[in-house]
């Protein structure tokens, strides 16, 4: 096989002194699916920015099709036949699929014409759709199509620009298992048509499933490039993290006791008045983890917000040790020993412009332990913070460092530390490991299981089905604001099975957890 791309000894030092890439080698062969893996901050995105012309390397060489590559910007990269499908969709919602695909390369009615030739554009797009089997309606507005199709639009976008080398940046992060299967199908079709794929991911299972070779980055350096068929998940993760990582969460079978939270016929509407929760009924008991599976945007966020007092319910009740949480304020609910790890640590989980120590006592500062008259007892706060940072392995310069300066994983540990330090009887954890690297995921999972074993009830919401499956004792599937199934998480339960419920294809017949 010929070598398509060769990046050698790539170094990138940013003006502020951060060395993001410290000697990366990446060799991609023509026609292969090359997985690129590494923890957050390992240098993947910087490397791809360099390859795509968004950043210039400090040193190092790039050869593409055997000749050295000098890029001034993304346009150059596109002209060279590279295309990038970004992790966050780069689409304008109110434009049509066709307009998004041709954006920046519109066809005109003639060489001198001012006007777009929309018919010709649509023809070209239909041809592409046919060739690659990426089904999507070119005339539909992007805001009206589901996530899986949006991704197809992104792929069509790079194909329209004639990309031969396609970079997929964590393409499965937002997809259901079925959509992921379809994506993999499309990727294989692309390879069949002579394209080459660089596949960036966190999920090692996907690496094993689809890639031909895998390059592992750690701390800005290439650690190894392996033939996928000669390696396994354990080896790759060891290379990524630099030590052994436990994959499956070690936990004993649950020993559920008294009911902690009993949600009955809960309904809620969003700010536009549309229903987002429909008759949700759930039970969570001491010593068990109830996982909520579902495609994002099906009511998980609102369910958590209603239970924590952030969003009003229109009817129904949520009995917490017999006391209704609905109608209580956030502070009242928190005072009842309900811990909440919000889904977005940047906006609602932590205050980025405060110090780590301040963030750690955000829920405890009224506690006499931390006050001195009307003031906060700084010394006690700092002592507490130091202990917490050690317990939860928060890596930062000091407890006075700004929370905003922490990496995603460390910031999440701060949030988790705060919520667990109150010894919650009910822990509501929303996306607890989103965007967190493998080492930290393992740690956070262990902490959550530890709380369960200590007798807390845990409500876990995650877009990662694998996370829900590995942590939960029972799994409730939410679809369109409705709990469509409550399943015992045992060996017989498969991702496919849950996937059907997530997509609304299947629904448990009998009324779930009737009040």
């Amino acid at each position: 096989m010929t070598i398509l791309l060769e990046m050698k000894e790539i170094h990138k030092v940013y003006p502020n002194g951060t060395a993001a890439n410290r000697g990366i080698d990446l060799t991609v062969r023509e026609g292969e699916i090359h997985a690129l893996v590494g923890e957050n901050g390992a240098g993947k995105s910087t490397l791809m920015k360099i390859l795509f012309g968004l950043e210039a390397p400090t040193s190092g060489t790039i050869a593409y099709r055997g000749s050295p590559l000098k890029l001034q910007g993304p346009r150059d990269a596109i002209r060279q036949g590279m295309g990038m499908v970004h992790q966050h969709f780069m689409l304008a919602p109110s434009l049509t699929v066709a307009e998004n695909i041709v954006l920046g390369d519109e066809l005109r009615r003639g060489p001198l014409s001012m006007f777009r030739d929309q018919l010709k554009e649509q023809d070209e797009i239909r041809k592409l759709i046919e060739t690659y089997g990426l089904k999507v309606d070119p005339l539909e507005k992007v805001e009206h199509i589901p996530v899986g199709q949006k991704q197809r639009v992104e792929i069509l976008k790079v194909l329209y620009r004639g990309a031969k080398l396609i970079i997929l940046d964590e393409p499965t992060a937002v997809l259901t298992p079925q959509e992921t299967d379809e994506l993999f199908h499309s990727i294989k079709a692309l390879i069949g048509q002579g394209h080459t794929i660089i596949f960036i991911t966190h999920k090692l299972r996907e690496v094993m499933e689809i890639s031909d070779r895998v390059t592992v980055l750690r701390a800005g350096k290439t650690i190894a490039t392996l033939e996928t068929k000669n390696t396994n998940q354990e080896e790759i993760s060891r290379l990524m993290v630099g030590r052994d990582v436990l994959f499956s969460v070690e936990k004993r079978p649950a020993e559920p006791k008294d009911t902690v939270l009993s949600v009955r016929r809960l309904n809620a509407v969003n700010e536009k008045g549309a229903p987002v929760l429909r008759d949700v009924s759930l039970e969570i008991r001491q010593g068990e983890i109830l996982g909520i599976a579902g495609v994002e945007g099906n009511g998980q966020t609102e369910l958590v917000e209603v239970l924590t007092g952030l969003h009003p319910a229109s009817s129904g009740e949520a009995l917490y040790f017999g006391e209704n949480l609905i109608g209580k304020s956030v502070a009242e609910i928190r005072a009842m020993k309900v811990g909440h790890v919000p889904e977005d640590r940047q906006t609602s989980g932590a205050c980025l412009t405060s110090s780590i120590a301040e963030n750690l006592i955000l829920d405890h500062y009224r506690n006499p332990e931390f006050t001195w008259g009307p003031f906060i007892h700084k010394k006690k706060m700092k002592e507490f913070a130091k202990v917490m940072m050690q317990l939860f392995d928060v890596r930062a310069a000091s407890e006075e460092a700004m929370a905003g300066s922490l990496s995603g994983g460390n910031l999440q540990k701060v949030v988790i530390a705060r919520e667990l330090s109150k010894n919650p009887k009910l822990l509501i954890a929303s996306q607890p490991t989103r965007g967190v690297d493998i080492g930290a995921i393992e740690f956070i999972h262990r902490e959550i299981v530890k709380r369960r074993d200590g007798g807390a009830a845990v409500l876990l919401v995650s877009a990662e089905l694998s996370e829900v499956m590995s942590l939960s004792d029972r799994i409730a599937v939410i679809y369109n604001g409705e709990i469509v199934a409550v399943l015992d998480n045992d060996e017989s339960l498969t991702e496919q099975e849950i996937g059907y419920y997530m997509l609304g294809v299947k629904k448990q017949q009998k009324e779930v957890a009737a009040p």
Binding site: P74, N100, R161, K272
Partner: protein, 310 residues
């Protein structure tokens, strides 16, 4: 009194007055629209109109050419819009604050210059000003109804209507229009396919300056023949309301301008009727009351539509 209004409707005077009033609103709103869809909403339309109104009447009376007057007014408005772009896009000043600064500057600076150049404090009306001409259509002007409907309007009235069509074509039919919308809605997406986001935003601001400039020039050298301090009297803000009310598209804006123009026309007609028993202060409130009502209506409709959409 109703009788008097009815007479004006029947003899189509109201149409003439309506066109006069809606033209500056329409022009300014088109400018606001282009800046809004590119995500750089230009709230300084008011100030730009004042600057242009003063510049164009000064140049027009100095050179005797209305065309030069319009050109100078528009040029000043475009230049100031570029300055807003420089501050907001390049130096990252909040665009609302930059726009407000221009509104305050436009009011103060024109009064200052009027005083310095002409020694006038309240208004400046040059003798024998060569106004923007009216278009009298031969033959048609003598046909009873159609004549009054189509003939005798200022050139700028026609320009405004033509510019509506121009904006439709620009926004929906050209690649540039798609780029404008993409830049306003998803700048990262635009950037990722190599669209020069900043340049598009600068150009959108320039368009808004051009349109606001035309609107301002019409105020001083078309609709009237003088410059009065703060003569825009909120037209620029009204235009911003029209952008929202018109659902951010040129045709909607045409309709919105029509409604506001009508409100102003009624105000004027009622005021000029001799022996009106209503206090003028109340009559003059009509356009602003219409603005509030229209925005409330718009908000309700939007809410209902959202509820229906899900």
């Amino acid at each position: 009194m109703l009788n008097a209004i009815w007479n004006q409707i029947v003899d189509l005077t109201i149409v003439v007055v309506l066109f006069r009033f809606m033209t500056p609103i329409l022009l300014a709103a088109l400018g606001g629209l282009i800046s809004d869809i590119a995500g750089v909403i230009n709230i300084s339309l008011e100030g730009l109109m004042l600057l242009s109104a003063f510049t164009s009447i000064a140049v027009c009376s100095g050179t005797g050419s209305w065309a030069l007057g319009i050109a100078a007014g528009a040029a000043v408005a475009v230049a100031v819009s570029y300055a807003i772009g420089f501050f907001s896009i390049r130096l990252k000043v909040d665009i609302i604050i930059a726009g407000f600064a221009v509104n305050i500057f436009g009011s103060g600076f024109t009064i200052f210059m009027m005083n310095k150049m002409y020694g006038q404090a309240g208004n400046y009306s040059p003798p024998d000003l060569h106004n923007i001409p009216n278009v009298n259509i031969p033959f048609l002007e003598h046909v009873p109804v159609i004549g009054k409907l189509l003939s005798g309007h200022s050139l700028m009235v026609w320009a405004a209507f033509i510019l509506v069509a121009f904006c439709v074509a620009l926004i929906y039919k050209t690649p540039y229009g798609v780029h404008l919308r993409a830049v306003g809605e998803a700048p990262d997406a635009a950037k990722s396919v190599g669209i020069p986001v900043r340049r598009v935003q600068y150009s959108a601001l320039a368009w808004s300056g051009l349109f606001a400039g035309l609107a301002g020039a019409y105020l001083s050298t078309g609709m009237t023949s003088m410059f009065v301090k703060d003569m825009t009297a909120g037209t620029g803000f009204l235009a911003l309301a029209v952008v929202l009310l018109g659902n951010r598209n040129p045709i909607g804006i045409l309709i919105g301008s029509f409604i506001f123009g009508l409100a102003s026309a009624v105000t004027t007609i009622v005021q000029t009727i001799p022996g009106s028993q209503y206090p003028t202060q109340f009559i003059q409130m009509i356009p602003y009351v219409v603005t509030i009502l229209a925005l409330v209506f718009f908000a309700l409709r939007k809410k209902r539509r959202h509820a229906l959409a899900v």
